[in-house]
Symmetry: C2
Subunit: 440 residues, 2 copies
């Protein structure tokens, strides 16, 4: 599937953030790159980008991006970028013949919006528009949005000032070459050079299909929309299904605050994983030092490390830097961190008084904690699914809860009780999993 | 694919092992069941079994087997079972029309022998025979085997006394209904009621294809062949690619000796896993007791447990009792066993003298040992493959080597050095794996 992106305008309302809107980074990644990445996720493979304002700079960026992502990006030039955006679309008339995705460089959206269009078998001579039917969508600026009137699955009317409307133009289109004829007709007859004008022409002839699209999309047009977009991109990281309760209500909200700034630095997710691990190690060292002040400091550091541990994945997802190695490396470091923290607590108790019982409890806490991760991750997918399926009734005691318990134990100076709780709860949970997996 | 199995004969040369040959268990599983299971692995789905001698008993067995394996088995009756085996094949004339697998209840074989036939598109009016072209196959009784002369991919002649031959009849056939006509012709014209006679008739007309088949097969005809078959079935368990050096050269040969007898008891593989774990636990307890005699006994018990740990998988494979849960359960118990053994050794040293260094070394040995399993098993397949691909140069220090080191350390009363070696080697290997996975 080919994809045409309109990136010729100036975007004067966002001048404070950067001179050329498509190149303004949002959470570390330029708007235009986000649009291209999203289109790739939706199945687009070859790109045509219409450049205009600051065209040379944009074309240099596109060349580097094409190399980095190993895709083909052909820049088109529209010197009339100050006129309507329809003229930009017309620049592709000679190169695009089969149905293509048409996107705006400043409209961010969820890939499934575009996927809903790409799976649609477009009849010749028609176009399809992803229409947001949620007229109360809080991400929409009602004053500025292009409104759409849909009836029987077809666009009946489109325009900014529409009084009678029941949806919004998301800026995500699937076009046949019919769009070019409509643009020319519109330009030559009415002097209207906007894309909306051409869509209205096709709509009047019943040739503009409306594909209902709910889900994230936003027109990043001014500073208010920019902040809304940032917030929306961040909040999409919250719904990680594997998050435990401490992650969800404590760690994640804080780590997102950090990630929001980390994305602007040239720090890799793996470096964040390593930093979090070193914090845990330092925390464990403080535990082992003995004495309440060091214990408290170690507990705080451990909890801080657990929060930072969320940032690696967040930054990776925000900056498209996720990797198989990254996830694996993070898990390996987490296991070492867990072991060292529990060992530090054990040592803390032994420093005060040597006791075989303490050594044994520390040992049981360490293997329990390990086995909980091992039984969850052990390669056999079937077992993992069985345990997950039977897991509802079980203990949800992931790493987030474990470290939080360690923090609480350190803060309250109740180290032995916390070790006992971890040792007992973790190993009992392993036993339960064995039972669940057997009865599967 | 349908499958016809000839199980009507008496098998008088194996009378000492059981009255009805097809029902004689070999390594815990009746010959006929092994043939049916192998045919299932090769793709057969519906079975017809010709019964004769002790027919009622056989049909009772088949009924229970069909229920146990949830397959369809139709028994056919041949009261002339004392005559040639061709008469047994003829009993299927009314029920089998499309191409079917024809097998002997006393011929064991590797499923890929039958699979080589089932993928063959049999022309109408022909049959195909899997021919073993290794005329020096040590599993073959040259005096008793049916010899075959193959030329240009066709069977030219077949018979026990053949002087000019270049292959053996494996007893694995793919037949069209042409076989029935040939059997009748043979019986009515020459009074020959053997299957070989009918094959010879088809061979003379160029209608018997020879499919070359190398690999395990054996005609379990007499006590010598029976022992050979047992040995061959056991030795096929040796080539487990994941076996480390201690497994391969020490544990596996001994565990196979045990398994050979265990298959005849009604002990499940999971019970064996649990028994091995309890031995390790007892060994760890002996370590912790302190003193050299207990240390030595613990070491011997640990190594014994490691040997027994091979039996669960062997018995499971020999008795078709492998399960996803079994493999997972074994791995979980192994991790606990490893941890307890190393903790026992640490405690042994602490019983003599309390030392922070010893506690730390014991801790590092335990997490190193855990992490080695974790990094190998961690669910991400890609990482596992990368590590494996880069693993040639790495340390092959699986569980077999680890426990053997523990045994040696205990026997030589060199507990601290062994803990140090394990702590250092395991964690260095984890570090190497991280590097390999990153560069992957």
């Amino acid at each position: 599937m080919k994809c045409l992106i309109i990136a010729a305008g100036k975007g004067s309302r966002l001048q404070q953030r950067g001179d050329s809107k498509p190149l303004i980074p949002i959470l570390g990644v330029p708007l235009l790159e986000r649009v291209i990445r999203t289109a790739m996720e939706a199945g687009a493979e070859e790109f045509y980008v219409v450049t205009g304002y600051q065209g040379d700079r944009m074309r240099g960026f596109l060349e580097r991006l094409a190399e980095r992502l190993a895709i083909r990006i052909t820049p088109l030039v529209n010197d009339d970028w100050e006129k309507g955006n329809g003229l930009s679309v017309l620049k592709a008339r000679e190169v695009l013949h089969e149905p293509f995705l048409l996107l705006m460089a400043d409209h961010l959206f969820d890939p499934h919006l575009a996927r809903a269009l790409t799976v649609y078998a477009l009849p010749d001579g028609e176009i399809a528009l992803a229409v947001d039917d949620d007229t109360r969508n809080p991400l929409v600026d009602l004053e500025d949005v292009t409104r759409v009137k849909v009836k029987d699955g077809k666009v009946r009317d489109i325009g900014k000032g529409l009084a009678d409307f029941n949806g919004f133009d998301t800026g995500v289109f699937l076009c046949s070459s019919a769009i070019f004829g409509a643009l020319e007709q519109c330009r030559d007859k009415d002097g209207d050079t906007t894309l909306s004008g051409a869509v209205r022409v096709l709509a009047n002839e019943g040739r503009a299909k409306a594909v209902p699209a709910s889900g994230f999309w936003i027109d990043v047009d001014d500073p208010v929309a920019f902040r809304k977009a940032e917030k929306a991109l961040l909040s999409r990281l919250r719904d990680k299904s594997s998050d435990g309760p401490v992650s969800r209500y404590l760690n994640r909200p804080i780590s997102l605050l950090f990630s929001r700034h980390l994305v602007n630095l040239s720090i890799t997710p793996n470096q964040i994983s390593l930093f979090s691990f070193l914090c845990s190690l330092l925390g464990a060292g403080l535990f082992a030092l003995g004495g309440y002040p060091a214990l408290l400091a170690g507990g705080v550091l451990a909890q801080f490390a657990s929060i930072i541990d969320g940032c690696d994945g967040e930054v990776a997802r925000l900056k498209y830097q996720s990797s198989d190695f990254g996830g694996w490396f993070d898990a390996v470091l987490d296991r070492y961190a867990d072991a060292f923290l529990l060992f530090g607590l054990t040592w803390h108790l032994l420093a005060a008084e040597v006791s075989g019982l303490v050594i044994f409890i520390g040992f049981m806490a360490i293997i329990g904690s390990f086995m909980l991760s091992y039984t969850a991750d052990k390669y056999d997918n079937l077992m993992r699914e069985r345990i997950r399926a039977g897991g509802r009734a079980g203990l949800r005691m992931g790493r987030d809860v474990r470290v939080f318990l360690i923090f609480l134990g350190a803060a309250a100076n109740l180290v032995l009780p916390v070790l006992v709780v971890i040792a007992v709860a973790m190993n009992l949970e392993v036993l339960r999993r064995v039972k669940v997996a057997r009865d599967g």
